[in-house]
Structures are given as C-alpha cells and as structure tokens.
C-alpha cells in the first residue's frame, strides 16, 4: 500500500485552510450542537433523544461535509490535479477524510456533553462511534464522487440524512414489518442498540452482533468509495 504521512498531512492542511474559509459549509458544524442544546433541556430523556444529535452529527457533519469537500474538488477540477500528482488513492482519501474525522470527533464530544449523555462504558461507545464515523465518511465520499458540484452533493446527502438519522426513530413508528426489519439493520439503529445495552452493563457477547453489522456496513462503504475513486482517476 502506497501511503505517505507527508502527503496526507499536506492534503489535510490544505483542506483545513479551505474549510475554515468556506463559511457556507463550515457553519453546518453548529447544527448538531444547537440541536443537542435544545434536546438537553428535555427532562429524563431516553437513549433515542441522546443519540439523535449524535446521528445528526454523522449525517450533517461527517457525510455532508465530506461529500461537499469531494464534490467541490470535482467541480473546480482540483481532484484531477491531486490524482495526477504522486499522491496515491490512500493518501488522497485519508488526507481528505482526516479533517472531517477530527471535526466529527469534536462535535460528537460537544454534542454529547450538551445533550447530557454520559456513557457508562466509554470504551465500547467510543469504538462504535469511531466505526460509525468511518462509515459516514465513506458514505459522504461516495455521494461526493457521484455528484459534480456542491449543489448536487448537498441534494445527494439528503436521503442519507433522512434514512440514517431518522431511521432509529422510525423503528417504533413503522407498521410494515419488512420496513421495520430493514430499519433495524441500519448502522444508526445498531449504534442506538449498542448505546442502550452498554448503558445497562451488557457484556461484549451481547453487543457483538451490532458491532459486526456496523462493521460490515463500514467495510462495504469503504470498498465502494475506493472503487469509485479509482474509476474517477480514469476520464471515461
């Protein structure tokens, strides 16, 4: 695997400078925090309420910003420049994901604090959140690679937001058994399950199935994003 920390860092620094000057996209990071502040005022909230700002962070910050960063590179023809440089696919994808991953981590921490969520098992939740973050990064990359502009990417991410953010809430609402089953298999629903069970002191064997489901989603999304990126290196 061709990977260079110098090149990853160079792309990260460039993305940080661009992102910090792109107010239209960077202002989105405040949305989950505002939501968390609002939800934090609810008396005796359920785990659904705690996890809502977290899932919102994943779709609005992780997937949305990643999709916009990739789509803008395509729109401005700068992605082609990176592809023609000595940066490998891994360098570019990691470099472009690092900023959003770190931003996600900070927003998740702040949102959790604001909503009043204190996990009993911090390690388990941290691992589940980290795997989920990678999944949403890959999803954002796919949306960005499929679209040609920021505008298109913003629209492409909407279904992601609806399905993955509101999916766990829909478990109790949908009457269709098939739809209910589908929703149960969503990574966001599984994240909610991990959060609920770990809060009641469940052991690893009870959580493993949820971890496996989230990991499968993540591996699938990462593989698709890499294949799609490799296809984009060709102008066909």
């Amino acid at each position: 695997m061709n990977m260079s920390m110098k090149r990853i860092q160079a792309i990260f620094v460039k993305d940080y400078k661009e992102f910090s000057r792109n107010y239209a996209v960077s202002s989105v990071i405040f949305m989950p925090m505002i939501l968390a502040l609002f939800y934090g005022r609810i008396n005796s909230p359920s785990m659904d309420i705690y996890l809502f700002p977290i899932n919102m962070t994943f779709s609005m910050v992780t997937a949305y910003i990643q999709a916009c960063l990739i789509a803008e590179e395509k729109e401005r023809n700068t992605l082609r420049g990176l592809m023609m440089s000595p940066a490998s696919t891994v360098d570019i994808l990691l470099g472009k994901s690092l900023l959003v991953f770190l931003t996600t981590t900070v927003i998740l921490a702040v949102s959790s604090y604001l909503v009043g969520y204190t996990p009993n098992d911090m390690l388990t939740i941290s691992i589940a959140l980290a795997i989920s973050a990678v999944f949403y990064l890959a999803l954002g990359t796919i949306c960005g690679l499929f679209t040609k502009s920021i505008m298109e990417a913003s629209l492409a991410v909407l279904p992601v937001m609806v399905i993955f953010t509101f999916g766990p809430l829909a478990v109790h609402l949908v009457e269709s058994k098939i739809l209910g089953k589908v929703v149960e298999w969503l990574p966001s629903t599984q994240l909610l399950r991990i959060a609920e069970l770990s809060q009641t002191g469940a052991n690893l064997s009870e959580l493993i199935s949820s971890f496996i489901i989230i990991t499968i989603w993540t591996i699938a999304a990462v593989v698709i994003s890499i294949i799609l990126f490799k296809k984009r290196t060709k102008d066909e």
């Binding site: 110098k6 160079a10 460039k14 000057r21 023609m84 490998s88 060709k234």
Partner: protein, 283 residues
C-alpha cells in the same frame, strides 16, 4: 541514437461510435519540443489523456519512458511528468503560494522551489493573492508554475498560453525554451501557429483524429512552398515571380533601373499549410 520518450503506434480511440483517434503514430525524442496542432475536437487532448493514463486506448500502443502509457499512473512515473490541461484547477480560497505549497509537499520538494516556479511565470509579487481574485491568464500562469515546479523530464502542455497576453506569453516561451535547454521534453498542443513555429522542433497536424503531416516547421514550409517571390516596386506595384529565365530577366531589369522597393519569399505559414491539407482552419 537518441531515445524516444514517447512512442505511439496505430493509436485508436473510440467513444461509442465516434472515432476520436484513427491510427495515430508518432514518436518524440528526448529533449524535443513537439507540437500537436489541430482544431478543437481533433483529438489533441484525447492523445494527452491516453499518454498520461487518464484514458485507455481502444487499439494500438502508446509508450512513455519506454513503459506502456497505462502505467503512467504509478507514483514513480507521475513524478516524471507535469501536465497542464484546460481542466486543471486551483483552490480558489487559497493564495497562489498556498496552492503551490500543497504541490511542493506532494512532490516532497524544498519550499524554495515555489520561488523558482513563481519567477518562471512572473508572479512573485502576487504570491499572497487569493486565486479567486486572479484573472484567467494569471490562473493559467499559476497552473503552469505548479506543472513545472518539480522539474519533470516530460511536460504535457495543452494550450499553455491560450489565456495569456502577448507579454506574458513571451515570458512563458522564454521559460519553456530554458527548460528545454536543460533537457525537458515538451509535448505541446496549440491552435497558435506562431507559438508552434517559435517553440517546436517538430509539429504534427491533427485533423479529425488523423495525423495529416508531421515534420519540422521549416521542412513543412519548404515542402508546401510554391517557391515564388513577391517583388514590390517603388511605385507600389506588386509582382509575383517564379524560378525561370523570363522572371529572372524581369527582376534584373527592375533592379538595374533601381525600381525594386522590397522582395520577399511567398512561403506558406503553418496555418496556410493546415488549410491546404485539411480544407479547414484551426479555429
């Protein structure tokens, strides 16, 4: 014998039913400036994309640095060429310097190379300017600076001076000649006949995906010249004369009578030759 940096044999490229390249063959020697001349849609950019592994040809062979062109996306080979095309982009919210710094890091170059690259395109004073504030010509110069920054042995330049004013175009020509003198091979596509004549050791005329002619500008002009001269007399009359006794005597008579104001060769321009070969102009 000088090695060929680029070797293309019977290259064919189809996009659906449309044939963009039809049996294109040519080779470029190390240290040569090779011009690919043709109107929009003639297959110039497609050829560059095949040679830089952005496209895979339908048929035929293309070698760069004696390796199949499809391998040009390897990290080692990517360091050996620079490419400027009409869809090369810049980061709009970053300054010129920040844009170049990114590529400096990607190619693992010392920061001092930014200064050299900026001097090459005459943009040292504007280095802190944001790209979004630059004119199209200035952006083109930044992209060119980025392309040559790692001093690659091979440059692909697709219409490098299309958006530049004559002064800056001249500055770029001088820079390209300097690079060439240092051994850089340049594959240049252009509409600009004067540019091709000024820079290129050899040129190929590409029309509807086919190479119609390939040679040095001087040889082509000689080949397509009708060997006539125009004699301008003091009274403003113009006469076209050809080789032969009758015309020679006539010219001698005018000269004896001190009536000749000026005399010049009617050799065709590269544009004339292109029109003669293809029946269409280069626009």
């Amino acid at each position: 014998m000088m090695a060929n940096i680029i070797e293309v044999k019977n290259l064919q490229m189809k996009f659906g039913k449309e044939e963009a390249l039809k049996n294109v063959s040519f080779s470029i020697k190390k240290g040569e400036i090779f011009g690919f001349l043709g109107p929009s849609g003639s297959g110039k950019t497609t050829t560059i994309k095949i040679l830089t592994a952005q496209l895979t040809q339908t048929k035929g062979q293309a070698f760069v640095f004696e390796k199949p062109a499809s391998e040009m996306n390897s990290i080692q080979l990517k360091k050996k060429f620079g490419i400027l095309t009409d869809n090369s982009g810049l980061y709009q919210r970053l300054s010129i310097e920040e844009n170049l710094l990114l590529y400096c890091r990607l190619y693992n170059l010392p920061v001092s190379t930014i200064e050299e690259a900026l001097a090459f395109v005459n943009l040292q004073k504007e280095r802190k300017k944001k790209v979004s504030q630059l004119s199209k010509g200035m952006m083109q110069r930044v992209i060119l600076a980025r392309t040559i920054m790692h001093k690659p042995p091979l440059l692909f330049l697709d219409e490098p001076t299309s958006a530049l004013d004559p002064v800056n175009a001249q500055h770029i020509y001088n820079g390209l000649r300097q690079l060439n003198e240092l051994g850089t091979t340049i594959f240049l596509t252009t509409h600009n006949m004067a540019e091709a004549e000024l820079l290129c050791d050899r040129i190929a005329f590409l029309h509807k995906g086919e190479i119609r002619e390939i040679d040095s500008p001087t040889a082509l002009k000689k080949k397509y010249s009708d060997k006539s001269f125009t004699v301008e007399l003091e009274n403003g009359e113009e006469h076209v004369v050809h080789n032969g006794e009758q015309d020679a005597l006539q010219v001698m008579e005018w000269m004896k009578a001190a009536r000749v104001s000026r005399m010049y060769s009617n050799e065709p321009t590269l544009g004339d030759i292109f029109v003669q070969l293809t029946g269409s102009d280069l626009k």
